[in-house]
């Protein structure tokens, strides 16, 4: 079946299978930042934005993207580079496999919550698992990233 959608700002038309997930559709069209992790809706590795909201692309049927706007890390290169620098500075990455999904959710949080508390940050990111247990480094990086963003907006 045919879907007409917007991917990273570009309108396009693609053929998808009725039982295809958005995750596999995205990887098929070259968005390889979207990782396939648990495939049971539990790890957050496949996080993308659907109409601006973070979703698990392993759970969204690809046909449901018809008429919608999908954003992956490929479409947020400037923001990714900026946040990635903070992650690098804090030693917050080890294998890096969880990073794209994690970054998509941090960037969504930064847009949704203006000045999140520590508890709100942990709550928002509870669905992003890191097998290397880099959570403390990630939290340090996020605090510094948000502080910089807050300073820019002030």
């Amino acid at each position: 079946m045919t879907i007409k959608w917007t991917l990273n700002g570009a309108r396009r038309t693609d053929e998808v299978e009725p039982d295809e997930t958005l995750l596999h559709c995205l990887r098929k069209v070259g968005c390889l930042s979207v990782k396939c992790g648990c495939e049971t809706s539990g790890c957050g590795l496949c996080t993308v934005w659907l109409d601006g909201k973070p979703v698990l692309s392993c759970s969204v049927p690809a046909p449901r993207a018809d008429g919608r706007e999908v954003t992956t890390l490929e479409g947020l290169q400037a923001e990714a580079a900026e946040l990635g620098a903070f992650l690098a500075d804090e030693g917050a990455e080890q294998c890096g496999f969880c990073a794209p999904g994690f970054m998509m959710n941090v960037l969504a949080m930064a847009r949704e919550l203006k000045t999140p508390t520590e508890e709100e940050i942990q709550h928002y990111l509870a669905g992003n698992l890191c097998r290397c247990s880099g959570y403390q480094g990630q939290l340090r990086a996020i605090r510094k990233y948000l502080a910089k963003k807050g300073g820019e907006q002030a």
């Binding site: 997930t21 049971t40 979703v55 049927p61 046909p63 018809d66 959710n105 509870a126």
Partner: protein, 252 residues
């Protein structure tokens, strides 16, 4: 993972109902749990074009469409104000924000999972469901029914101002609950709901607190990998007490 030969975005509730009468077809909600199965479907029926993703304030009641996401329930200002933060409390431990942006109210209510935080919370309120075929009925009656080929469209909650509290015990944050507990008080009667026993939620009512506690502890609890029946019974007493303490703060 499921397989499917066709995917149809229903253009009306009547069409969705008609399509769903075939056993080989199924409604797809958020897709979160469905994809864990291995079923082969002929046609998946998508309700996302039917404007059922709305939370409406209809005066004396709140109307929630079946395609409302758990994240919408969690962050809706009207629900938070009218039901003392109940929906925030009963959704915030469910996996993560991304999951809650996918999972739907309809998927949670229709599936009637024993571990459902949502159904436990809703049962503490005066709540009805609207089905495309069978029409309106109380949620309490609905959860006792076996799953059939009907289509859940709306959930209605009476805004009667009753104080309500929600507590859950989990072995780890974002895991499925070991036990869920909701408590409300309306016109002098306590209404306790205990879910994840691990079976479906049970409702207990009484005007007297001590009798209510006795009834809750006398419910049937079972064992599974998350906890034993004995531990669940102990937790039921603990969570119920915590709920009562919350009610006292909010005037219940």
């Amino acid at each position: 993972m499921y397989t499917a030969r066709n995917y149809i975005k229903a253009e009306s509730l009547a069409q969705a109902y008609e399509l769903n009468q075939r056993r080989a077809n199924a409604i797809v909600g958020g897709g979160c749990w469905m994809r864990m199965g291995e079923r082969m479907y002929d046609t998946l029926i998508d309700l996302s074009a039917l404007e059922l993703d709305q939370i409406q304030d209809r005066g004396e009641q709140a109307a929630l469409g079946a395609m409302v996401t758990l994240r919408q329930l969690e962050t809706n200002f009207m629900l938070d104000k009218c039901f003392a933060g109940l929906f925030r409390k009963c959704t915030e431990h469910i996996v993560g924000v991304q999951f809650r942006n996918c999972a739907t109210l309809g998927g949670s209510v229709w599936s009637r999972f024993g571990f459902s935080d949502i159904v436990t919370a809703l049962l503490a309120l005066d709540c009805q469901v609207e089905l495309a075929g069978a029409g309106r009925m109380s949620l309490e009656d609905f959860v006792k029914m076996p799953r059939d080929r009907d289509v859940l469209a709306w959930v209605y909650i009476k805004k009667d101002g009753r104080p309500v509290a929600y507590e859950t015990a989990r072995n780890s944050e974002t895991d499925l609950p070991v036990l869920t507990c909701a408590l409300s008080r309306h016109e002098g009667t306590y209404r306790a709901v205990v879910g994840a026993r691990p079976g479906g939620p049970r409702v207990v009512e009484d005007r007297g607190w001590d009798r209510l506690v006795e009834k809750v502890l006398a419910l049937e609890y079972g064992d599974n990998m998350r906890g034993s029946a004995r531990y669940r019974r102990h937790l039921a007493g603990v969570l119920l007490k915590r709920c009562k303490a919350e009610l006292e703060v909010t005037g219940g």
